[in-house]
Subunit: 722 residues, 2 copies
């Protein structure tokens, strides 16, 4: 795998989004995340001894986890809390305060923040909710809060967050009840979460499986400090190897892009569970491109481009993060599957195949090593219960060692079902994988009967989980990461023109064809005829057979109203067809203004593609490729990328389509001209770059692609400008 350097895109639209600017001009005076993440003194405002209260859990957890700095509990009623001197208010605290946390009623938050600012607090964690998470009034309050803080350079984490768990920096400021009475586990995973409940959930599930964290930060409403501020911190943090995030929405898209690029350059994998990905945005249904390429698709495209991994559920995310942090840089493709039972092998193989996983073919050396133990059945998957040792499973350790040392194996997955001695089996398997430089995962399918095995694997630091789902999601994402190719820097073809963007409104087929012709994309020749009487003469200047199309800015889908006629042989056929078409369209769409007809040379292609452009509100110009013609809407088979793209990248986009098998020729058919199609995509993508936000969307459908060497031709297209 190759983590390539920075690319041109991140410089293109840095200033296009006003939210990207600081909310205050005094940015240089603001405290840094570094200062907040390494507090020497902490004030817990609203501290209490009652673990049923937020302030009680915060104080108790901070003490349980052993903060070594200076602690200032703040409580108006009590002089002492849990053996520590308490202070009635912020202004009564004698020394400097690096970090303050408050879980107090909303009506007191602004005053308290003002006191903190006055006292020179560097950072304040606001646990209290009902700010921008609860309507306009709360949002205004949140803006005020941040403004007050920024006047003194103080930074805000939250509001509506649950603070920070930082095993590396030795402090926990978090009201989550999952922390009470248990020690946090240090690991090399940094985690930033937009939801406090999800952070608590993931943290607890992970440490229950023996997976620890370097730092966990709950960012809440991101009123001031946001996702990327902390990801930036984690990129620079030597104690963090892998970054995980739970994200509901991206606040600063360009920042996200920059930080993702930084993480990639630093060689730190960034794994994200993104919620809300199925919610269709309220996009205008102007064209295929618009209706298919929602905002999540754009976000996913940016993640794909930066090597950021999107994962469907939290458990798979931290399992993968743990794997990547323990085996840094390791790539994963072929899997060795092992189980104490044939049933475990059979079920797991099905499921692995379902997610596109690949079983390794064992080398002859491995088969030779296994054969004495598994005569005649020394293959992948390995049913350890089928060994010739009765049911003793005595070959478990040796079998694991043998398959992990196979050159064809990248990862071993052990699916533990019931067995004569589950814990002993797990122990032997753990012995077998110990010391290998390749990753292993174990799945424990039984319930209580596997508890001893779970404890053992936790203690032995073996990656394990209770479901095949999580293990297979983690493996699939690891494989995706392993196959990542950094996008090439796209080079602008020197002959591309610098056309001014047309004025706002719809650009019809001929307008689009004029533009793309200038960009070097082939179109079928045609002539415009404003009346039925002109079409025959237009046809006579072209080569037969002809296509006739109605021209009307009121008609988006011409075929649906009988506005397209194909295979016309003679100019007089075109005239007859035009006459009929006029009648038909007038009946079907009585209100439509008909501007005239297009007569074109009919071209035959081997594959219909959709290629298009779309300006995403968050991530700027995007280019889209997909199945064309009637299959555009049926298959919804599209791949997006930020524009511009190189033609090499466009080839990979095309190969990412579900219809990709057609590209290379199916059933002995000759391959189609992928190069020409990719070149067209690349050239078109520069148009998105050149016209920027003026070009809302554009689609060419179909782009008819012919056999290899014969090129491609844009047959229809339209665009919307603003």
């Amino acid at each position: 795998m190759k983590w390539a350097g920075p690319r041109i895109l991140q410089h293109i639209h840095l200033d296009s989004n006003p939210t990207d600017r600081m909310t205050t001009p005094s940015a240089s005076l603001l405290r840094t995340v570094d200062e907040i993440m390494t507090p020497r003194s902490i004030a817990v405002i609203g501290a209490s001894e009652d673990p049923r209260k937020f302030g009680g859990r915060i104080l108790r957890t901070l003490l349980e986890q052993g903060f070594h700095g200076t602690l200032y509990p703040v409580n108006a009623q009590r002089g002492e809390l849990l053996g520590h001197q308490a202070y009635p208010s912020i202004d009564r605290i004698p020394g400097p305060i690096d970090l303050a946390i408050m879980a107090i009623p909303r009506e007191h938050v602004l005053d308290t923040i003002a006191q903190c600012a006055k006292a020179g607090v560097k950072g304040a964690i606001v646990v209290t909710s009902k700010f921008s998470d609860a309507g306009d009034e709360g949002a205004a309050l949140e803006r005020d809060l941040v403004e007050i803080a920024h006047r003194s350079g103080m930074r805000i984490l939250g509001p509506n967050c649950i603070g920070i768990i930082s095993p590396v920096n030795n402090f926990v400021l978090c009201p989550s009840p999952v922390l009470l009475g248990r020690s946090v586990l240090r690991g090399e995973i940094g985690f930033v979460s937009q939801s406090g409940a999800v952070m608590g959930t993931i943290f607890d599930r992970a440490i229950s499986q023996g997976i620890g964290f370097s730092h966990c930060i709950s960012i809440g409403n991101q009123g001031d400090l946001e996702l990327c501020d902390f990801v930036d911190y984690l990129i620079d943090d030597p104690a963090t190897r892998v970054i995980c995030s739970y994200v509901e929405g991206i606040k600063r898209p360009q920042r996200f892009d920059q930080v993702a690029a930084r993480a990639r350059q630093a060689g730190k994998p960034w794994l994200i569970v993104k919620a809300g990905r199925t919610e269709a945005g309220a996009a205008a249904a102007f064209s295929h491109t618009a209706s298919l390429a929602g905002s999540h698709a754009a976000f996913a495209a940016v993640c794909r481009e930066q090597g950021v991994l999107l994962i469907d559920e939290p458990e798979a995310m931290f399992l993968l993060a743990a794997g990547m942090s323990r085996f840094p840089g390791r790539t994963v493709d072929k899997i060795a599957l092992l189980s104490p039972s044939g049933g475990g092998c059979a079920m797991a193989t099905d499921r692995l195949v379902d997610v596109g996983g690949v079983l390794a073919t064992f080398s002859t050396a491995t088969v030779a090593a296994l054969d004495p133990m598994y005569p005649g059945v020394a293959h992948n998957p390995v049913d350890i219960g089928a060994a010739n040792d009765g049911a003793s499973m005595s070959h478990t350790e040796q079998t694991h060692r043998a398959v992990l040392s196979d050159v064809n194996v990248d990862l071993s997955l052990t699916v533990i079902t019931a067995a004569p001695d589950i814990a002993r089996f797990a122990e032997m398997a753990a012995d077998g994988i110990a010391g290998s430089d390749k990753p292993s995962m174990m799945v424990l399918l039984p319930g209580r009967a596997a508890e001893e095995a779970r404890a053992l694997l936790r203690q032995r630091n073996v990656l394990h989980t209770d479901t095949l789902d999580s293990a297979l999601r983690a493996i699939s994402a690891w494989r995706e990461w392993s196959m990542f190719v950094a996008p090439e820097m796209p080079v602008r073809p020197p002959e591309l023109p610098a056309l001014p963007a047309p004025s706002a409104g719809l650009l019809g087929e001929q307008g689009v064809k004029d533009v793309i012709t200038a960009y070097g994309i082939g179109v079928n020749h045609g002539r415009f005829a404003s009346t039925v009487l002109d079409v025959a003469s237009a046809a006579s200047q072209l080569t037969s057979p002809y296509v006739l199309k109605i021209v009307s800015s009121d008609i988006v889908h011409k075929t649906d109203v009988g506005g397209v006629a194909l295979g016309l042989e003679h100019p007089e056929d075109v005239e007859t067809a035009a006459r009929k078409m006029w009648e038909r369209v007038r009946v079907q769409v009585p209100h439509a203004q008909i501007q005239g007809f297009l007569v074109q040379e009919q071209v035959i292609g081997d594959l219909e593609l959709l290629i298009g452009l779309k300006h995403d509100d968050q991530f700027g110009p995007m280019v889209v490729v997909g199945a064309g013609g009637v299959f555009t809407e049926l298959l919804k088979d599209v791949v997006l990328a930020r524009a511009p793209v190189s033609s090499e990248r466009a080839v990979r986009m095309l190969r990412g389509l579900r219809i990709a098998p057609v590209l290379d020729g199916m059933r002995g058919k000759p391959p189609i001209d992928i190069q020409a199609a990719a070149e067209a995509v690349s050239r078109l993508s520069w148009l998105a770059h050149d016209w920027g936000a003026s070009l809302k969307e554009l689609d060419i459908n179909p782009l008819l692609v012919r056999r290899a060497g014969l090129g491609c031709v844009a047959v229809d297209g339209r665009a919307l400008l603003c």
Copy 2:
């Protein structure tokens, strides 16, 4: 939902498979499953006190679970075991023996079985492995074993099984270590498993979640008694409401079909985890139908027809089974989703949508009931943490009660993340769903922090699991079951001819068209011409435009070798095209014998379908519908059913395709003639019935379907007979 009566199909091919016959003529003397499942006396052969040994675990578990009948431990060395008198051998046991179990070295099994037979044992459970699970020699030994048993009427369970766990009949004969030291939980789920390890795994995971069973039977190699014998027993067992199976292969397909129909008629859902479903059989790649319709597809079609639910993983299976047994007959469609956190709501909504689940729209009454607690956010999913009660979650019970009583809600799914008090939240949620006649499920996402909640939900008998995956699989399958429609009895159209099956070999396009024309399926008109010189005259008898096709039994895919020409206007164009085609094909496929040309009228259709027939080795004649033309292989979008099918059924098959949106007209296009296509499918399906096993496969591709009312036309086809 309607569970319809038996249908014609199960009578059609009952005797087509020789494995369906009894292995011995003395079938009427054989003991029944009933006798084996209600033993009053049990002999444990190879009994021991050592729980590390199979015989030790069997004896210990039997005693721990409290068998009330007579127990005979058999051990050559010991006079007493665990306080019970032991016997040196079977023949020294004084009384009658209903059931014997043996986990002894393979070399002693046959002798021991002979002794059991002599002693009048009714049934013997053989735990020992390496019989038909280990090659030909073992298989021969297994046949001998069964033959010896059958001579005295004795039945065999296994070999290579782990016996029986029967909470209802108060006995456990099972060496699985998961049973040691814990009490089995009685429930209404009957479970039959082909893998012993999977049975132990599922049993343990289920009882760890508070889900019990009526009977669990491990069938192993099914040397004698097999899957369906026990499913039959469970159908008649009043203590069993839902049947679960883990299946690797079906031994007696016709029996499976009959038993599935019985289960359906008895109103007992049958849930199956089928392993090995992705292993492509070694099918000859003759045509699309063959390459797409493997044997698992046929099995899945039979299950779909009989309302048997196939589920991808065991945990979802027993979770659904528990739900169905607690809410018998309840159908599920619309879901209410609840969580203590917005993050839980967001993640779960995405995942529900991913699997095609549907969130209920709350009634105005429910919104009115929720609004005081959730001002402005009283919608589905419900973020209970967003209520106006601070973070107390005090509305949890009332919220659950309100959404479950909503007429639009069929099931509530509560996704528990970290919360201020997880156990208290679970308790309130359990209170809220208590007494409802609608099912609920809860998912616990935290790890150790949710242990108290888990224990509480287990004790309160609330359906719960640790992963959204299992809950969503269970809900999806429940929804599929709810939408089940029993296939109509297909009625043979009276005008169908009784054509004799042609002799073995390939049947070309014209042969297929002749047959299907007789079956009332439209074809495009055509004439055969044996030489280039004859094609123009053939064309002159038809209506222009023409299609020209090469005729050669050596060419399967004519388009791939330039053997098809379209859009020919005049008879002389056809001759020119034939001349060129002859040259082209001679170059491309030099070895091919060319019989001549087909000249046909070219037809235009709105949708290309594949319709076909296939004789499945296990389940007999099947009919296939799918996407046609180039999309057949690209999309692999097919639906199978056993032939014959009614046209109503054929409509449902077509609507089950991924390309189904096209049927009703996309983007304002008129709908296509589904009725005509379905009628063609139904008629074709009778051909599969009429020709039986002689017809190996047949496919028509494309069947061109026109707009509604205009019918459909078979344009190409071929068949293979044997």
